[in-house]
Subunit: 455 residues, 2 copies
């Protein structure tokens, strides 16, 4: 078994706030960033992984990953279901580090980055893309990936096994379909809040022409603007385009109910993050009040227990997993199984740095081995920063093409890594840029109620 | 207005794992630690604050506090309700840093440390201990401390104001009572899992003799041991001593129900952390099943929204605030108001490094200005590390004496700070110690299911 001999962590930041349209006084400009790591083994193998952040604080995320070095370096690289699970549990089980969560925030995302890197390495050694590496596991092996502690009131190992065995039928033909047709995507490109009506209309039409069956608009600014933009998008795209809206946690519970009722006449496909991501009961109250409008959340849901409760409380219609928010592949497999148990479709969050590259694998695994369907399933797509990846996503007619390169598609190109290392890379060499974007952030200093910035 | 000119952050660790009894293979030994900061103003003022951790990862916590420097240094020191709220909101509102939570884990605890330091400074300038500084604010000022976004479905500003105005009656006489009688405490000292039955019995008796009306035992090891220890404690202390038990998140939901039912014959006063701190619905299910046994949690509840939901779901009988887990005084005031609205007593978590020193102030404020009662209220007390504080807690007959020194009792003695700075302090000079406790942690390497270690 190869031994992990190093884990190098790099603070990578892309100065996306320089170029971003669509921001306003409430939505600060993000600098899409990655706390990026490379595992190396004594057999010459590499595993790549990262936590995604939006700029300041990426150094804190780097420090958190470095705190995991003693649990990684000097240990065997995990290569199969059992050892990958043991590896994941080892990182989650240091009681001193666990205090910093538990299982949430900076430390949990750090564990996710390292676990994903181990999976990247294992899939490469198996000569498979990650989706295939996962889908080729037996139902027993997949069940073995999951920590069922705290889950059995919602999903037992036996139930998970039943789900996976039932999904085994037709797996080969679904794989053929995946390879020829890809996995459905939707695009957020037309909908940024700051875009003019003209631009919104133009990009919405372009999305339809490119073959997307779903787009997403940002809402949560002024209600007048929200309604005008939604009406425009609906007029341009016609009744068949699915138009989701995303409030980015902007509303309280009652506010959300009022705002969603006002939007209802334009038939929103789903309403995403209507309120605080921690407010499980709030989501449930909103969903009950605005039925049949679909409620979606998950990109900020910090672990499997949040998803368990969102499902138990019948709070959501759409499970939005994120490849980098939770503790990596193992925990996302648990969430896919929970969603399947409750019959709620998974539509992953993506964008940012490399989130599309990673999460497509999990959606494809879900299709092949868990939910066994793409009905009402779509992976978010945002068209930026893919050029920095060795194995970037490819889209065709509104669908993600199944990656064929081995691994988890997580590796940044060496030239990009060098250029965007913060603050020493060539992209950051201009001292003024560093001051404005990564340093004291004087321009962000005014006291405002801030919003998380959607990817 | 004084301007904050520096924020110095120190990695302070106490090698408590060297001395700790009561640990086992499941409960790793903590090294009680603080990511400790000092604000200094151009007027010569100081504010002290810290995040509490249990060892490894304290450096990550330090990095998170340092990430807040641009929002602190160069800004006016907040001195009153309005400016303290603005200060708190400014730290919470940086959207890039918010991505690392939002409002949870390392980044949120960092904000809590800085906000608490600002309160320490403000109370000192007002020449009052923090409990008095808070209690002397008008109801309107107290309401102004709270961010009601996401709370209004459970508590509106008007309801909070009504609560506070109702509690104004009798405030002076309660203050007199507080100054003469102190605030009730309970002690966890007898109950560590690894103690022999003899030691448990001896310390339980001693607690009763010292005037404590409540003790707490650790459970969640073997059920046989739990039952034997609980029977012993009940025999030694008699029927009038309140004996709480603490499972430290050990159980799943069904497991917890079974375990609590087995303990029920010994009349546990409350059962603390029966399952994962994130599992709001799980706590509610457990409470429904074991009624009338009281369920307690909160030391790992990461923000006000978790408490809001625990209360809405009728999941708990005891609200265990922690001075350092959430975003400081402002957020804890919100939680105190929520608890008062729902009529659930607040019994703060303490122990660790300085948690007793801080949280006593919040409980005393609750008594004077919010709940207006000490009925069924107690603050946890653990007798260690107080000697390192400039203004340590003092107990008399099982009660916390109200601090009279100005500020938040947060300052470490300069000599202690120097000695326990990690890894350069004299307490850490022995290279072997550093290697074993703060470094690669080889002795903790075995793969086990870990537990958070209770303070």
């Amino acid at each position: 078994m190869p031994i992990i001999v190093s884990m190098d962590v790099t603070d990578v930041r892309f100065p996306t706030s320089r170029e971003l349209n669509g921001s306003d006084a409430m939505n600060k400009d993000p600098d899409y960033s990655a706390a990026y790591l490379v595992l190396r083994t004594d057999a010459g193998g590499e595993g790549h992984g990262f936590a995604f952040t939006i700029g300041r604080g990426n150094d804190v995320q780097v420090a958190a990953i470095q705190a995991l070095v003693p649990w990684v370096v000097g240990h065997p690289a995990p290569l199969d279901s059992a050892s990958l699970t043991e590896f994941s549990q080892r990182l989650l089980s240091d009681s001193q580090l666990r205090w910093l969560g538990p299982e949430k925030g900076v430390m949990h995302m750090a564990i996710g980055a390292v676990v994903n890197a181990a999976w990247d390495h294992a899939a490469k050694l198996a000569h498979k893309p990650l989706w295939k590496f996962l889908a080729d596991m037996t139902p027993e092996e997949v069940v073995g990936l999951v920590d069922f502690r705290y889950l059995t009131d919602a999903l037992t190992p036996a139930e998970a096994l039943d789900l996976l065995e039932a999904a085994s039928a037709g797996k080969d033909s679904r794989e053929q379909r995946l390879l020829t047709q890809g996995y459905p995507a939707y695009t957020t490109s037309p909908g940024w809040l700051g875009y003019s009506d003209d631009k919104l209309a133009r990009l919405a039409l372009a999305a339809a022409e490119e073959g997307f069956g779903q787009i997403k608009l940002k809402v949560g600014g002024s209600q007048t603007d929200d309604l005008r933009r939604m009406r425009l998008a609906r007029e341009v795209c016609g009744p068949d385009m699915r138009i989701a809206v995303d409030a980015n946690q902007r509303w309280g519970v009652e506010e959300a109910i009022d705002a969603i009722r006002a939007l209802q006449e334009f038939d929103p496909w789903w309403v995403e993050e209507p309120t605080a991501p921690d407010d499980i009961l709030g989501h449930a109250a909103i969903r009950r009040a605005v039925r049949p409008v679909r409620i979606a959340t998950g990109e900020h849901a910090h672990n499997r227990l949040v998803f368990k409760q969102l499902l138990q409380a019948e709070a959501i219609d759409v499970v939005q997993i994120d490849a980098c928010r939770v503790a990596g592949v193992n925990e996302n497999v648990a969430i896919l199984l929970l969603a399947a148990k409750f019959g709620v479709p998974v539509c992953p969050h993506a964008g940012g740095v490399g989130l599309c590259e990673l999460v497509q694998h999990l959606a494809m695994f879900d299709f092949l081995a868990v939910s066994a369907t793409v009905q009402d399933r779509v992976v978010e797509y945002v068209d930026h920063l893919h050029e920095h990846f060795v194995d970037p996503v490819t889209l065709r007619r509104g669908h993600y093409c199944a990656p064929t390169a081995w691994g988890f598609s997580a590796a940044l190109k060496p030239a990009s890594l060098a250029a965007y290392t913060f603050p020493t890379g060539t992209a950051w060499n201009d001292a003024q840029t560093v001051g404005a974007l990564g340093g004291a952030a004087e321009d962000l200093h005014a006291f405002v109620v801030a919003e998380a910035v959607e990817q």
